[in-house]
């Protein structure tokens, strides 16, 4: 979807502001926001794709005026309600008003190191040969999907070249909506800056993005 998360090439968003000796967290609540997001992810109630889609549905004006951890907390609240783990009233009250829903697992402190070490690999066995090889010229799909996609607007309908074949991975466009992992070949696709930005491109510049086979057709 063309939410506020899809930022490539936008203008007017202000200066980049690196901080000298930036702290890892800027407030104590950010630590809790991080940990709550990871711990709730570990319950297995949703995928990373579903959680990204929850965040990108934040109204654009709110999203652009929120810090990243604020966006995470809003996304987490949305997921909790949508997945039936708590109601909006319970979130507003900060306490339980009904019995809990079952979750697949609860992350125990002792299991944190192993869970983080395991992570969430997205590579899956191939069930069909890759359609493209390194050096192939492709064109990205022109589309305007309402749902989740990892094909950014600035890369739609553009010519590119296969730079790397990355294996078969969970397809976010279906997985975000609970429609299955539908694993698809993933490619690093290289675009000349001129093919994205025309005469405004900087010289000798290429952009490479990881794009799924359904986003691509041969040229």
């Amino acid at each position: 979807m063309n939410g506020a998360q899809d930022l490539g090439g936008q203008h007017g968003l202000g200066p980049i502001a690196p901080e000298v000796d930036e702290p890892l967290f800027h407030a104590a609540w950010e630590k809790r926001a991080l940990a709550l997001t990871l711990a709730m992810g570990a319950t297995g109630s949703w995928s990373i794709d579903t959680s990204r889609h929850a965040r990108e549905r934040m109204p654009p004006a709110d999203s652009l005026s929120s810090s990243y951890y604020e966006i995470w907390i809003a996304g987490l609240e949305r997921l909790i309600v949508e997945q039936g783990l708590a109601t909006a009233d319970e979130i507003a009250a900060g306490r339980s008003l009904a019995p809990p829903a079952p979750v697949k697992r609860v992350l125990a402190a002792a299991d944190v190191p192993a869970a983080l070490a395991r992570g969430g690999p997205t590579e899956r066995p191939a069930t069909a040969p890759a359609k493209f090889a390194v050096g192939d010229v492709v064109v990205t799909r022109l589309a305007n999907p309402h749902g989740h996609t990892r094909l950014p607007r600035y890369l739609r309908g553009r010519p590119g070249v296969i730079e790397r074949v990355q294996g078969v991975h969970v397809y976010p466009d279906t997985n975000a909506h609970g429609l299955g992992e539908a694993p698809a070949w993933l490619y690093a696709v290289r675009f000349a800056a001129e093919d994205l930005w025309g005469a405004d491109a900087e010289p000798a510049t290429a952009i490479v993005a990881d794009l799924f086979e359904p986003y691509l057709r041969p040229r």
Binding site: D6, G8, G9, L13, G14, I16, A17, P18, D21, L24, F25, A28, W29, K31, R32, A33, A35, L36, L38, A39, M40, T43, R52, E56, L64, Y68, I73, A86, G94, R95, S96, P100, L107, A108, D111, V112, P113, A115, L116, A117, R118, G119, T122, R150, L151, P152, L155, R164, Q166, G167, P172, L186, A188, E202, A204, T205, I207, V208, D210, F212
Partner: protein
């Protein structure tokens, strides 16, 4: 190349960034290792808390009461990223690649496996790619769609990496962005921007500074900054100045 569970996934590091906490209004009980969260929906101090602090505390109280999260696990999660996983991990990888040509070859061929050789793997580093800077090409990493970042080697991303200005501009005017970070590339150096749109995570291998022949890996690692592994910086010059490129 699917990552398998590895017990030695995180490696103790000392900060390349610092870990100052900035307690808000003295409520430093947030984040104390070992403290319980069950009392976070407490009374009598709400007026001192900002709306977002109240909101997060309320959410944590609810999720603990529901039994979905273990408060002790939250503390371990925070401690992991405050003290165990950070850019020192990535610096060890880079220093090894600078020191050992065979390791460098393995790193650019299968970064996930090569990084795992050093005991480093895990969340947001399951599928790694190493991209090497040379005199001919400079690599820069961004995530225009969210905040994808190689946590296993760099830790948590800085705010600017997650914020709209960098995410919008890095793909459209990377040389201008690099200049703002103090990186002026020679005209003959091509720029390659990696937009992390899927689950591959990118680690830039910066150029080894001149004048470091014979240096130990430990000494070399001290020259490897976080930004040099994102591509918004260069490795430190041994004399303490940015590596000359022009």
């Amino acid at each position: 190349m699917t990552a398998s569970p590895r017990s030695a996934s995180v490696t103790a590091m000392s900060g390349d960034h610092d870990h100052h906490d900035h307690p808000q209004h003295g409520h430093s009980h947030h984040g104390h290792p070992g403290s319980t969260r069950a009392d976070t929906h407490d009374h009598g101090e709400g007026s001192e808390l900002s709306p977002i602090e109240l909101r997060v505390r309320a959410l944590e109280s609810l999720l603990v009461e529901k039994g979905y999260v273990d408060p002790a696990a939250l503390d371990v999660l925070i401690d992991t990223y405050e003290t165990k996983v950070g850019p020192r991990n990535g610096a060890r990888v880079i220093a090894r690649a600078w020191s050992d040509p065979a390791y460098r070859d393995r790193l650019v061929t299968d970064a996930t496996a090569a990084i795992a050789e050093l005991g480093i793997s895990g969340r947001q580093g399951e599928h790694m790619v190493a991209v090497e800077n040379t005199a001919a090409v400079h690599n820069l990493v961004v995530c225009t769609l969210c905040s994808c970042y190689p946590w296993s080697v760099l830790g948590l991303p800085p705010v600017w990496y997650k914020a709209p200005p960098y995410r919008s501009r890095a793909v459209a005017e990377p040389r201008a962005v690099l200049a703002e970070f103090g990186v002026e590339l020679p005209a003959g150096t091509a720029v390659r921007v990696w937009d992390s749109t899927a689950e591959m995570r990118y680690l830039v291998v910066p150029m080894r500074p001149a004048g470091t022949a014979g240096w130990s890996e430990e000494a070399l690692a001290d020259l490897v900054t976080r930004d040099s592994m994102i591509g918004t910086g260069l490795a430190r010059d041994p004399a303490g100045e940015p590596e000359p490129r022009a």
